[in-house]
């Protein structure tokens, strides 16, 4: 039935490959599988649905407890302050925000009732149990407070390596360092670092289906620098003391959230 011979059987591409660019497969695969733009992309859109839809759907946000990397030691007091700053910024944009205790107390209760979400031996999360606890928790928050979405504020690390290179690394590192040169023992580092560990303040906002409505990560600073001469590790806590810089970063975290014209009470 086929009127053409299969070109693959007679291909001598290996000999001529260098003559032609071969972007099709890569481009097509990228087009098909999509994939969200990275945080380094100029076109990065934190808001995943149109602003009007977001405003129609989300007025009350329940906050999850602030999560931080395992090596960051946060006192209870500092954790509350971090959350409070974010909560105020969200309220300034017209949202009603439930402090994390509302989410966390329910989450803990339901989790205990079904024997825990994580395997005590392996630490691996049981996805079915996780889904059940999420379902009961968000259902309760919706019933009781009309919360339509959940925010998960966090501080996370991201390693910026030269290989494989992505984006404008030098520019990114510059931004992470607060628009200044990366420091080494108190002086500007003159050589290009091999990689830098950055700390970001992140926040995702999810609906009851766990679909992402908003997602953002904003550089807070760097916590490790690796260069030819060695490495320099810096405690992440230094980035939170004083909290002024954190406060500025949080303002950027929420800046793409649509603003409710008038702060409205939940229905």
């Amino acid at each position: 039935m086929i009127s053409r011979k299969n070109p693959l059987q007679t291909s001598r591409l290996a000999d001529r490959r260098y003559l032609y660019p071969r972007p099709l497969a890569v481009i097509a695969i990228l087009l098909i599988i999509g994939g969200s733009p990275t945080w380094a992309d100029d076109d990065y859109q934190p808001l995943k649905i149109p602003a009007e839809s977001f405003l129609n759907r989300v007025k009350v946000i329940a906050m999850e407890p602030f999560t931080v990397p395992v090596d960051v030691v946060l006192s209870g007091e500092l954790r509350i302050k971090l959350e409070q700053i974010l909560l105020e910024e969200l309220e300034n944009r017209g949202y009603q925000v439930l402090p994390s205790i509302e989410f966390d107390s329910r989450w803990q209760r339901y989790s205990e009732q079904i024997g825990g979400v994580y395997d005590p031996q392996t630490g691996i999360r049981d996805e079915e149990k996780y889904g059940i606890v999420w379902d009961f928790t968000t259902r309760e928050l919706q019933n009781r407070f009309h919360a339509q979405a959940v925010a998960d504020p966090n501080i996370f690390y991201r390693e910026l390596t030269l290989y494989p290179r992505f984006g404008d690394l030098v520019n990114i590192i510059w931004k992470i360092a607060g628009n200044t040169a990366v420091q080494w023992s108190g002086s500007p580092l003159t050589e290009r670092p091999s990689y830098v560990n950055g700390a970001w303040v992140g926040m995702g906002i999810y609906d009851a289906e766990r679909a992402k409505l908003y997602s953002v990560g904003v550089p807070l600073g760097y916590v490790a620098v690796y260069a030819l001469r060695g490495r320099e590790l810096l405690p992440a806590e230094r980035l939170l003391d004083p909290l002024d810089h954190y406060r500025e970063v949080v303002a950027v975290v929420v800046k793409d959230l649509p603003q409710h014209s008038i702060a409205q009470s939940p229905q």
Partner: protein, 408 residues
């Protein structure tokens, strides 16, 4: 402009380079004896296409529904005899992707997103879409676009390269650097063209050939422009989509093009006595896909799309418990008003009535009754849930709920 001999020599080299570096974009259609010798550049396109096919099937992106796949394939095969020779092969596949798009690879593999199938209304519209996409394949548009890009690249390289040399020889290194930068920008924009689809001329050619084929195959020509009106219908406050058929301006271009083609055949027999629309057949085949696509849309927070799809599913299959259950889920989880919750209750109740042994429907209905303070009804449904599914992981939570219900 006064050129030195050296500059003139470079310019001559450049002009000669233009002639020798370009390849012909006038290629014969796939069907026909001229198509047999395939050039290396087209072989590369085929090889990339085969890799793409493999990639998609390996990663389970393909929506598995044998009957639907065969149905789409049969519509494609019905069109092919009217697009050239009938001995050309194509394979139609469906991808699990709620964004609306369709592509045809240079090797004849057609990929339709579940999102676009969920948007179409009937078989005639499907034939329009397939006709358009198959035209890209049969007229070797990928090869033409590739060669055209190559040629433009060659022109840009030689032209700018020559000017760079002239500028450098003329003692203006800054101008040479600037021209070199422009040459790089030209490369980037050429690649950008490849990403964003075919040129307008090729799209119009695909409109023409695809339209002729669907009319010749006996479909109602009036459905051809309708597909683009359907795609342009505003939902979710103009959700931006990443692909061609989700792009408002480009879909609008296609709409105008097909309306023009339709107006040209007014008065003909094909217009006066319109042929097959195939609404019932189409809906029968895509019913299940509507639900699966609604699930995908919910994962992307596209609630309005999901609502429309489940509503359409229930129009097609009003006695299906899955459809009512899913509708309940959409309205319960994304309720925007008390009416939404009432609709969720109604949907769950219908699901339970249609399939009383379904634990999930009982659970959802019971939990919803509880939240609405309808405690007696809640207890009945939650008891039934635990009876149907005694091993339920959430049993302790449900039991604690039942124990606190006010049954007075």
């Amino acid at each position: 402009v006064h050129l030195t001999r050296v500059q003139l020599a470079w310019l001559t080299v450049g002009v000669l380079g233009l002639g020798s570096g370009c390849v012909s974009t006038r290629v014969p259609p796939v069907a026909g004896p001229e198509a047999i010798p395939i050039d290396l550049d087209e072989q590369e396109l085929w090889e990339d296409s085969a890799k793409f096919d493999e990639y998609m099937s390996d990663r389970k992106y393909v929506y598995e529904d044998e009957a639907l796949q065969q149905y789409v394939q049969s519509v494609a095969e019905r069109l092919l005899p009217h697009m050239g020779e009938s001995d050309v092969e194509t394979t139609a596949r469906i991808l699990k992707d709620p964004f609306r798009n369709a592509i045809c690879l240079p090797n004849g593999s057609v990929y339709l997103h579940s999102g676009i199938l969920a948007s179409l209304e009937n078989e005639a519209q499907l034939a329009t879409l397939l006709g358009h996409e198959l035209s890209h394949y049969l007229r070797r548009h990928s090869l033409k676009e590739k060669r055209s890009a190559e040629n433009r690249r060659t022109v840009a390289n030689v032209f700018l390269g020559t000017l760079v040399v002239i500028a450098a020889l003329g003692g203006d290194p800054a101008a040479a650097i600037s021209l070199g930068h422009d040459a790089n920008s030209a490369m980037e924009s050429l690649l950008d063209h490849q990403v964003n689809g075919y040129s307008q001329d090729l799209e119009r050619e695909a409109d023409k050939l695809g339209f002729q084929a669907m009319v010749a195959a006996g479909y109602d020509p009036r459905e051809a422009p309708r597909i683009f009106r359907v795609l342009m219908a505003e939902r979710e406050a103009q959700v931006p989509e990443p692909y061609y058929y989700g792009s408002h301006p480009r879909v609008e271009e296609r709409l105008r093009s097909y309306e023009k083609r339709l107006s040209k055949i007014k008065g003909t027999l094909a217009y006066r006595e319109p042929g097959r629309v195939g609404k019932a057949d189409y809906e029968e085949h895509i019913a299940e896909l509507l639900l699966r696509n609604a699930e995908l849309n919910l994962r992307l927070a596209r609630v309005d799309f999901a609502r429309e799809e489940v509503a359409r599913y229930l129009e097609i299959a009003p006695q299906n418990a899955d459809g009512h259950f899913f509708q309940g889920q959409v309205y319960r989880k994304h309720s925007r008003s008390p009416q939404d919750l009432a609709l969720a209750v109604d949907s769950y109740e219908r699901a339970v009535a249609l399939r009383p042994e379904d634990a999930a429907s009982r659970r959802e209905l019971g939990l919803l009754y509880r939240s609405l303070d309808r405690h007696l009804e809640a207890k009945a449904q939650l008891d039934a849930y635990l009876e149907i599914k005694p091993e339920a992981i959430d049993r302790p939570i449900i039991e604690s709920y039942i124990s606190t219900l006010d049954l007075e």
